[in-house]
Amino acid sequence: MEMLRCEHLTKTYGAGETAVTALNDVSFSVEKGEFVSVIGPSGSGKSTLLHILGGVDKPTSGKVFIDGTDMHALREDKLAVFRRRQIGLVYQFYNLMPVLNVDENIALPHLLDGRELDRERLDQIVAHLGLSDRRENLPNQLSGGQQQRVSIGRALYSHPAILLCDEPTGNLDRKTGEEIIDLLKESNRSQKQTLILITHDEALAMQADRMIYLEDGRLVKNELIRSRI
């Protein structure tokens, strides 16, 4: 079942002679529960693609359908609601709310959606992320790996259909990075969440079901590595 489809995505920054095309006519689709890695050199348009898929940036042209909804045709507030229900974003630089502690950061998107807090699930996630003794800490009191775990916890807590991760291990040491990837893979497996992961690391990319290779904003390779069926 198709979960995500993008059609002829193009993103151009600037205009005229200084125009830079970050994405150039990119089209692909992702099945529900699939783990897709996006790989490519710096400046190839990976992050731009992820941001457009996550609805936090708009394409210059082209469309993104998530579960059949043309995401960028939605108005700002509808898009915000759609985003918090369907998409979990994990950034390279965590982007945690500096004034909220671990518990509050994880629960915030869920509460924003007007849903009641599931205390038990919160406890489970915090324990699962290994943050039980850091629950009352603000982000600036956590290490990079801990912050990234909070960021993943935040993305997982509200059961989004798609998890978009922008180089989640880029700032972490190898061991912590592996732990983070394990967490994401486990969530992908157990929750049947679609996972799209951007990385520089080819070895990491190879752990995905499918690998998309971008170069100069173009999709140059869309390779199935393993089939889940």
């Binding site: 940036d57 700002e76 915000a80 004034v99 915030l108 924003l112 800490n137």
Partner: protein, 933 residues
């Protein structure tokens, strides 16, 4: 390149890289300079303008020296500090056969030197001023009174002084209480210049004591009535030319001198010097000098200095907070680059230098910009205010012959002061941020952890509930990120404190000045009437007839009658409260501070005799309305058949309205909050004087008491004698007592206020005017506004009121800007945070809800601080004023403060909307990547 140069280069580089932050800081400093300029240039400009207005009253002179003998002239002429010096020579009275008034058969002639014409504000309405011997100008009042004199006429003058001689053998003495004169049979005494002309009578004779001087004068002009013209005097003012060529007063003659000084600071020293070296007396022109705090009235001078200091301190405080906030706004980014400098070896001192360096490099270009802006604001402000001020002056019947221009008072000293004050303010503002920056370590700066505690923050599970996401964010944002919210709380508190204290200060100053200078003991506040018919007891029939005529006229839509018993009504002194007597004694002791015997004697005497009581009667309908608004027993009020009285609690005692001797002490004022000893329902004996009988008591029942607010629709009262309003039954009873009394006495006056339809009633008004003329002014009809026409001082008070409120508005504007800057600064620092929230799915509505909750929390915090601080400051201000000025009630303007509170809430909401506005076109990604201010 030395160390400082490197730091300077780096600082400059960051200032260029962050033009928005640099622009905000620059704007803050430029605005501060502008405000300083507004204060110093504005103050001087306003003072200059007010001095020009004040000069309308009695001229622009600073000091007058009276009775200068020939031998004293060199001392006067040798006063180096004086920049203009004019002389006045009194030549005496001369007959004026052309006079059109039987009461004014003389000219009172004075010789003026050219400077004296200018300094004493002599204004020619026809012809020109005398420019040589044998020329004279006369007051234009002679023409209004029908004198047969015109330009070119020659007046032959034989000068004399006036005296009177008692000629009635049977009369022991003739007393002229107003002039303080008593003449006995056979005695001859000199009379003052304003002594009236009396027709020939059996009691005394008026003498002309010829001086032996004479002259022939050609009338070359007519002048507007000079300030010293007295309508009751026997002579019209006339001025001749006095040569200023070294001529000295003749033997036995004295002249007067008027002078101005280059610096008004010289007035008091010169005055003392003259009084020590000569026998002359002096007078300081307080109206003109009051504004530069050099008048002889210490209270007015103190008030002026106080106003200046108060407003300068406030503007400095507002500016300090404004600039400090601007520096604090960019704290994190600055900390980051200074941290980087620190990591490559910059010392704390070098980091502090960086902050000072930025402050000074922004102050230098901000100075000329701010000064020019300030001058522009003063110029525009005064130009905008001027038509209103001119109009205002005219409403107080001050005659303005020429346009009084608004001249900007810009001088080097002022500008230097602005520069110095601005420098001090900027350095003080930068001091704390610089010290903090100097202490930040490199690692925490670069990581962005500077100033953050390592304390854990317990999860607020109470807010982790459905529908409380916005509250969760708002509460945590305001409590866990104090470095971002402190500036806003400070701005709100500053807004509250500065505007409330300025408002309180402005109102207190206005109240002080009004109390000191205001001339109206009574103001009639009755609304909806445009004319007044006035008649006294002696000619009550004329009044009654005119009243009937008015009431029957179709053009008259409404009438209201007031009966005024003042002059004849008194109350028992024993009915006055202890508070009143304490105040009375306090004022008395100011006159005789060390004479206990006189104090006790005067007190005993004062308590023995009845005291005057302002007694008015209004209609029963108004009486009931007054009672309802005050604190009254309505059962007494509603019994219209029973004579009852409402007592106004307050009286105002001061060294101005209570005189106990000729040597006046420094001004002191006491507001007695409750002047009466009576209780509601008690008997109040009104003491009335009945010819041939003496004092009789007229019993009234105290229906209740009135305060300022209750009285306000009818009167504003500032008298030293208590005020009572009686009902119709009481007034009828009193009038009944006087039915058969000889009408030559003054028992009561009646005023009929009436409303004439616009464009109608000409015939009625014409007829009333004729009746007035036919009956020698024994009844009078006038515009209602004339009832409240204040004096010149009231015009000044009103101008000060306008200026004080303008200043309050200016302070409010600075505070507003400060608040805007703080909110804007926080919004800019939170761009990333806002983008993150939006990326997490926060809708616009949720975002605004969060901001609204944050605002409510910040406002609550800010107002709590503001309430505590402004309460303290107001109390302090109150204590200072009361200790210097006297016991005066300076009510806190709660209504206005409530208004400011609401305004701040609305303004804060609007600023937040502006600062956090989203067009929907912003890229969340770009915002997340963005740096702070």
């Amino acid at each position: 390149m030395n160390n400082k140069k490197i730091i300077f280069q780096v600082t400059r580089c960051y200032m260029k890289r962050n033009p928005r932050r640099t622009a905000v800081t620059f704007t803050g400093i430029a605005l501060m300079v502008m405000l300083m300029t507004c204060v110093f240039v504005g103050k001087d400009t306003a003072v200059h303008y007010l001095e020009n207005i004040a000069a309308l009253k009695s001229g622009s002179w600073h000091l007058t020296v009276y009775d200068i003998h020939a031998e004293e002239m060199p001392i006067i002429k040798g006063i180096d500090e004086a920049d203009r010096l004019g002389f006045v020579r009194r030549q005496g009275f001369t007959d004026f056969p052309a006079s059109g008034s039987g009461d004014k058969p003389y000219l009172e002639v004075k010789g003026y030197s050219p400077a004296a014409f200018e300094l004493l504000g002599i204004h020619v309405t026809q012809g020109r001023l005398p420019s040589g011997d044998g020329e004279i100008v006369i007051t234009e009042t002679v023409l209004q009174d029908g004198a047969s004199v015109q330009l070119g006429d020659v007046i032959e003058a034989k000068f004399f002084d006036r005296s009177i001689t008692g000629i009635n053998e049977t009369l022991s003495e003739s007393v002229f209480p107003y002039y303080g004169l008593t003449v006995r049979y056979g005695e001859t005494i000199s009379v003052p210049l304003d002594f009236p002309y009396y027709p020939e009578n059996q009691d005394f004779r008026q003498n002309k004591d010829y001086r032996g001087t004479a002259g022939s004068y050609t009338v070359v002009g007519f002048i507007a009535a000079p300030y010293f013209e007295n309508k009751g005097s026997a002579g019209y003012p006339a001025l001749t030319y006095l040569r200023d060529d070294g001529t000295l007063p003749a033997e036995g003659e004295t002249w007067n001198a008027v002078m101005t000084f280059r610096s008004t600071d010289a007035v008091t020293p010169v005055k003392i010097r003259i009084e020590n070296k000569t026998q002359c007396t002096t007078e300081v022109n307080n109206m003109v000098l009051a504004f530069s705090a050099n008048g002889s009235d210490s209270v007015i001078s103190a008030v002026t200095v106080f106003i200046e200091a108060f407003f300068v301190v406030l503007i400095m405080a507002a500016s300090l907070i404004l600039i400090y906030n601007v520096f604090q706004m960019s704290y994190r980014e600055r900390a980051r680059y200074l941290g980087m400098l620190s990591s490559v070896g910059a010392t704390g001192r070098q980091k502090r230098f960086s902050v000072y360096c930025e402050a000074v490099s922004l102050l230098l270009p901000a100075l000329p910009v701010g000064i020019l802006l300030g001058i522009g604001v003063v110029r525009i402000g005064m130009t905008m205010l001027k038509p209103n001020l001119d109009k205002l002056i005219q409403t107080f019947e001050v005659v303005v012959y020429d346009d009084i221009p608004v001249t900007l008072s810009v001088n080097a000293a002022n500008l230097l002061l602005v520069a110095v004050m601005s420098f001090v303010t900027v350095m003080l503002s930068a001091l704390i941020p610089a010290i903090k920056m100097g202490k930040i370590g490199p690692v925490e700066s670069i990581r962005g952890n500077e100033g953050r505690s390592g304390k854990r923050c317990p999860t607020r599970f109470g807010l982790l509930r459905k529908g409380r996401a916005e509250a969760l964010m708002a509460v945590n944002s305001t409590s866990r990120c104090p470095h971002l919210t402190r500036g806003i709380v400070r701005s709100i508190a500053a807004f509250g404190v500065l505007t409330a204290v300025t408002l309180y200060g402005a109102q207190s100053v206005i109240r002080m000045v009004n109390t000191k200078l205001g001339t109206n003991e009574f103001v009639y506040n009755f609304k909806g009437y445009n004319y007044v018919l006035y008649g006294d007891f002696s000619f009550e029939d004329l009044y009654d007839s005119a009243k009937e005529r008015i009431k029957s006229d179709s053009a008259v839509t409404d009438t209201k009658e007031i009966i005024d018993f003042f002059g004849n009504s008194q109350m028992k002194s024993s009915g006055l409260s202890d508070e009143y007597w304490e105040g009375y004694e306090e004022i008395l002791r100011r006159y005789v501070p060390s004479d206990e015997e006189t104090v006790q004697e005067t007190l005993v005497e004062a308590r023995e005799y009845p005291t005057f009581l302002h007694t008015f009667c209004l209609s029963d309908e108004d009486f009931k309305k007054l009672a309802a608004a005050g604190d009254a027993d309505l059962s007494i009020v509603n019994d219209e058949s029973k004579p009852s009285v409402l007592l106004y609690r307050k009286v105002e005692l001061s060294t101005d309205n209570m005189i106990f001797g000729s040597k006046k002490p420094d001004y002191h004022f006491i507001e007695v909050q409750n002047a009466f000893r009576y209780q509601t329902g008690q008997n109040f004996p009104l003491v009335l004087y009945q010819p041939d009988v003496g004092e009789v008591d007229y019993p009234l029942t105290v229906a209740g008491f009135l305060d300022e607010a209750a009285l306000a629709p009818y009167f504003t009262f500032h008298g030293e004698h208590p005020l009572a309003i009686i009902n119709k039954a009481a007034a009828d009873g009193i009038m009944q007592m006087y039915q058969d009394v000889d009408r030559e006495y003054s028992i009561y006056d009646k005023l009929l206020l009436f409303q004439v339809k616009e464009g109608e009633g000409d015939a009625l008004l014409r007829e009333l005017s004729q009746r007035k003329e036919q009956n020698e002014d024994h009844i009078n009809v006038m515009n209602f506004d004339m009832l409240n026409t204040g004096g010149f001082e009231d015009a000044i008070v009103s101008i000060i009121r306008i200026l004080a409120y303008c200043f309050t508005a200016l302070i409010a504007a600075v505070c507003l800007l400060n608040l805007y800057n703080s909110v804007k600064g926080r919004a800019m620092e939170r761009r990333r945070e806002m983008a993150m929230l939006r990326s997490m799915g926060m809708t616009g509505r949720q975002l605004y809800k969060m901001l609204a909750i944050e605002n409510a929390l910040l406002l609550a915090k800010g107002w709590c601080i503001a309430a505590a601080l402004s309460g303290g400051f107001m109390l302090l201000l109150n204590r200072v004023i009361v200790s210097r000025f006297g016991r005066i009630a300076l009510p806190v303007p709660y209504g206005l403060i409530a208004g400011i509170t609401v305004a701040v809430c609305v303004v804060m909401a609007l600023i937040t909307l502006v600062c956090y506005r989203f067009s929907g076109k912003e890229s969340i990604v770009e915002e997340i990547r963005s740096e702070t201010v």
